[in-house]
């Protein structure tokens, strides 16, 4: 009996990601959720600009490539034209929290019935490790060689906290992929985000706290430890908004 194998919603193309990059784990979790819900055939993904730009090679469903940060706008159009299809975006922090912030906030406040997978690794990976909106205070990057100075560069953007203050979105949760336990929790959250869309509940965003061993300058194993010790205190995990559950409690 097979206990674990590569999900059908992933193609045979080998990932181009660096060794130990957790993008691969998150790709797999999205694919597993699509398979388990039986919607791979009618799923349409929107790929971002960033390391995950070639996600369209890896998912065995229809994929669209959006301009930098505009994935939620493209997904809005797709969902409104094809309400029967399952539409998701897969975006990094440079894409979603920087250049695409307007699209993110407005699709959330409109409660578009889409699913967003937001990968937060606190750095611009593809372009070579520059400071991102989500880089931690004091974090050394290519463009903050003395550490992020909040006096000039400001504080990191906490996307989940910020979006959960809006009345629009249905579901916002932050998860991480640094341990087996957290990966399993992340899988559950991603599946729920797709389930919400299938049930027509509206906008679901899952923020996945992730690593970038290459640009953090660490081994994959140390990167997971750094994530746990530095990122998780700043980006606490948990459900930030669940409108359906809140409504049930009110009743």
């Amino acid at each position: 009996m097979v206990v674990f194998e590569k999900p059908k919603a992933l193609t045979d193309a080998p990932f181009h990601y660096c060794p130990g990059c957790t993008h691969g784990i998150i790709h797999r979790l999205v694919a597993e959720a699509l398979d388990e819900l039986g919607v791979t055939g009618k799923a349409v993904g929107v790929a971002p600009v960033g390391c995950a730009v070639m996600a369209y090679n890896y998912f065995a469903c229809d994929m669209v490539e959006a301009a930098h940060g505009r994935a939620p706008a493209v997904a809005t159009g797709l969902k409104r034209c094809m309400p029967e299809n399952v539409i998701f975006t897969y975006q990094g922090d440079g894409d979603l929290a920087s250049i695409g912030m307007a699209e993110t906030v407005h699709s959330a406040t409109r409660n578009e019935n889409i699913t967003i997978i937001f990968v937060n690794n606190a750095i611009y990976g593809m372009t070579g490790g520059q400071m991102a909106p989500t880089s931690l205070p004091g974090q050394v990057t290519q463009t903050s060689p003395y550490g992020r100075d909040v006096a000039t560069a400001g504080y990191p953007v906490k996307v989940s906290e910020m979006l959960s203050t809006l009345d629009g979105p249905e579901y916002i949760e932050r998860v991480a992929v640094n341990s087996v336990k957290n990966v399993k929790a992340a899988k559950k959250a991603i599946k729920k985000a797709f389930q919400n869309q299938i049930e027509g509940k509206g906008f679901s965003l899952i923020e996945v706290v992730s690593t970038c061993p290459t640009n953090w300058g660490m081994t994959p194993s140390n990167a997971l430890k750094w994530l746990e010790e530095n990122m998780l205190p700043y980006y606490p995990l948990g459900v930030y908004k669940d409108r359906s559950a809140a409504k049930k409690e009110d009743e």
């Binding site: 060794p19 797999r28 194993s221």
Partner: protein, 68 residues
């Protein structure tokens, strides 16, 4: 019986499976290089495997298949 197979040509030798294994029976090969130029992970003692799939859960490249 529990059985773990590695699709070695996809492995990048990151070692996350090595850390995840509760039985400590996965190691990075010292005498092998795969098509990508990495030293792949391999199982050292198949008998001790309990098919928990922790290795496969942490593998970023879908290298591992677990059977029971």
């Amino acid at each position: 019986m529990a059985k773990v197979t590695f699709n070695e040509d996809l492995c990048k030798g990151c070692g996350l499976c090595v850390d995840a294994c509760p039985k400590k029976i996965i190691a990075i090969a010292k005498d092998k290089i795969n098509a990508k130029g990495h030293s792949p992970a391999e199982i050292t003692d198949q008998e001790k495997c309990i098919a928990c799939a922790f290795c496969a859960t942490m593998c970023p490249d879908c290298v591992i298949t677990v059977e029971k």
